[in-house]
Symmetry: C2
Subunit: 193 residues, 2 copies
DNA sequence: TAATTAAAGTGACCACGGTCAATTTATGGA
DNA sequence: TCCATAAATTGACCGTGGTCACTTTAATTA
């Protein structure tokens, strides 16, 4: 076991996070610079990299935080009964994942990307998502019951990602995200062949 | 209209591509360095960026090439009749997309990412994939016919991506990619609720 | 309280992607 | 053939992420 961190270290960590959140709030993820973070936090660059293995780790922490908050809202909603309600229930999550392209890229890179035993916060959130949705699917009144609930949940995740990705296409005219997702989920969860 | 490029430029372009392919073949996409490319091609760094807007554009060109070659094989196969055959038919494409993590990241970033009218080669391949698979789905004997063929095709694409992404997880023990994909496709294309 | 050891933090330095004013090379007309 | 113009290339330079030997500060022991 490694020793507990000193309170100075905790304080520094918080300052780094706070500074980063400030920057993201005003400039977005795309324009986040490590130099700017350490400047605002009042520490040296080296300190940053003793707290985060790389810039991506910071982004993961920030975005993971947002995902967690979004998931709390999603988890509090009633079990959705049809494609419309599913899309609506997932809306907070989709907003968290799909409003900034730079953030979405980070999410894609890290959604399942853990080396060995090291789950990042984003990967953790994705696991949580599947757990929650698996719960939704289990013994559901209307959802198809011919495939395992966990598989259904993974599928929903895949479609959410796909819908967001298409949103970032240039041929933007397109269907709005919410509509596209509803069509996917209806076909996936409520087939009538 | 812009004038046709001089043959010197074409030659330089080919040297750059060839050098890059060499490096990728021996070191993989992750270890590709622009400096190394220009060194082998015998040109200055600035020349590189007059041929490619950025490093990503080169990667796109290389990977797009591989995807095109894979798609040619896929397109030559018979129309798959069940989940197993679908997974088998798509195998070349999956191999091209999923063997190197660095390449997969590039693909995810650029699969739908075109700014305005500028389709990159990867985005183009993704469009081609949907076109081919839409063709497969149309008037298919066994595949579900309760949703539009194009939607089915997009769904297959989503599941292919999801299956590859899960492959890159650390909890690798997991199901082999091919099996997972088959389960997805069976549920997506051949529902029996 | 002084000495010892480990944690925390520092900043000069490197690697690598990307820019741009300046230079070289090709092309087409007089 | 010579000149004017555009195409192609160059390499010094910059921004930013990331490293590491070293200094400073806190905890621990004598």
């Amino acid at each position: 076991m490694s020793r507990a961190p000193q309170k100075r270290r905790v304080a520094t960590h918080e300052r780094l996070i706070a500074a980063a959140k400030d920057i993201v709030a005003s400039a977005g993820y795309a324009d986040l610079r490590v130099e700017e973070v350490v400047l605002r936090a009042g520490v040296a660059k080296g300190t940053f990299f003793s707290h985060f293995s790389d810039k991506d780790a910071l982004l993961e922490a920030l975005i993971g935080d947002e995902l967690t908050r979004a998931m709390a809202i999603v988890a509090a909603s009633d079990v959705p009964q049809n494609a419309d309600e599913f899309a609506a229930a997932l809306a907070p999550l989709i907003a968290a994942m799909g409003t900034q392209r730079a953030a979405f890229d980070v999410i894609l890179r890290n959604s399942g990307a853990m080396n060995s035993t090291t789950y990042g916060p984003i990967a953790k959130s994705f696991v949580d998502q599947v757990i929650l949705m698996t719960d939704w699917m289990t013994d559901h009144r209307r959802v198809r019951q011919d495939v395992a609930p966990a598989l259904l949940a993974e599928g929903v995740q895949a479609f959410v990602v796909q819908a967001i990705a298409m949103q970032f296409c240039a041929v933007e005219s397109q269907v709005p995200l919410q509509d596209r997702l509803r069509a996917y989920l209806d076909a996936w969860l409520f087939p009538r062949p």
